[in-house]
Symmetry: C2
Subunit: 199 residues, 2 copies
DNA sequence: GTGGGAATATAGACAGGTCTGTCTATGAAA
DNA sequence: TTTCATAGACAGACCTGTCTATATTCCCAC
């Protein structure tokens, strides 16, 4: 999920804007990033910017959609890399998330950040809610038991979101050990949930 | 934890500013709230504002300290109201948090929101980290086992933070049933953790 | 080959709004 | 008189969005 800003030259103007906005919005915050900065760093003219994104709010929505796509792709790919199979259990979650948390550009979940920052915009909240639902659906695929799978997936997603937040509070250069240890406990007890409930 | 804006008349100018800022920052966001709006709603003059808060950043820090105090007081009081005793277990957590999540002005955790919005300000992150440590310490008091109490408290705090975030994504007027059900599962399995580990 | 038009792009001036912070003038209470 | 307060003008920075002028490339017709 690294963004290679050096590769902007081969992209269309629209993609350059979107990728630059993605990086700056994620790093510094949406409101903290003026459109002139995006324009300067993506190397487009103002008229081009407004051709593709008629307003900043349009760009914000595009950013969230783009982020959703990228993140979901990464999430599923990282889980698979760590051995995920349908119904195979929660084990791949921890190393996959560790990968993300330990990325030097990590600054939490773009959707949580956006709702925090722009919670008064209904479509930001809607997009973010949908993102979390999709994340929860992927987690549900990991769970072995069809019974109460949805409920358990929600509980796991809550644990994941909590870890995402806590990792954001840890020093950026740290290995997020405390967060990962706490999440490990949660995933362990949630995995053991079925053993307890099985007759 | 209701703020009664109608009671501002009996407060000092400084407290009026602080309380007004608290309400507006929490409701709309810090950057979304200009100082002129705080000034207008607290009924002070600009010179008075700057007498007590030499810059907006000073006000933000004061807001976070004030919020910390208020929230921690509420948290401990709500747990006690729901039957909390040292070592008495996690049961009071769910109703206490339900109380908060179901408050019509609920908009998540001010500290999570602030880090999301202003993550580039080091002292905002520091204050927020300290807040979470204090919250975790209160949670630790609920746990019965001295062994691994710190680790378990961290896991519980992660679950709580996840629920805080998810409740913010639910519709503001809803009863946050999905979040509370998910959190209930987490607290149940975490509470059962000791039973599993005890010989 | 040349010229013209269309499409897309660049650089950036400009208007108007919002924001933070500085400051003046005045008023009220002790 | 001192202290603390009010109302609000003002400067400068930043922001979003509108618009002008210009440049480049491609395609087509002559």
């Amino acid at each position: 999920m690294t963004s290679n800003s050096a590769d902007l030259t081969e992209l269309s103007a629209q993609d350059r804007i979107l990728q630059t906005a993605h990086d700056l919005f994620y790093r510094d915050g949406i409101r903290a990033t003026g459109i002139d900065k995006i324009i300067a760093e993506s190397g487009v003219a103002k008229a081009t910017f407004y051709r593709y994104f008629p307003s900043k709010n349009d760009l914000i929505r595009a950013f969230l959609d783009y982020r959703h796509q990228r993140w979901m792709n990464w999430f599923e790919e990282a889980l698979a890399r760590h051995g995920a199979k349908p119904g195979g259990g929660l084990a791949p979650l921890l190393p996959a998330l560790a990968e993300w948390f330990q990325n030097p550009v990590y600054r939490g979940c773009a959707f949580i950040n956006s709702v925090s920052e722009l919670g008064t915009l209904a479509d930001v909240v809607e997009i973010s809610r949908n993102h979390k639902q999709d994340m929860t659906a992927v987690i549900a695929q990991l769970l072995p038991e069809p019974e109460q799978r949805e409920q358990l997936a929600i509980a796991v997603a809550i644990a994941v979101d909590g870890a995402i937040v806590k990792a954001q509070f840890e020093n950026q250069t740290s290995d997020k050990a405390e967060t990962l240890a706490g999440l490990a406990i949660l995933l362990k007890v949630l995995s053991a949930q079925k053993a307890m409930d099985s007759p």
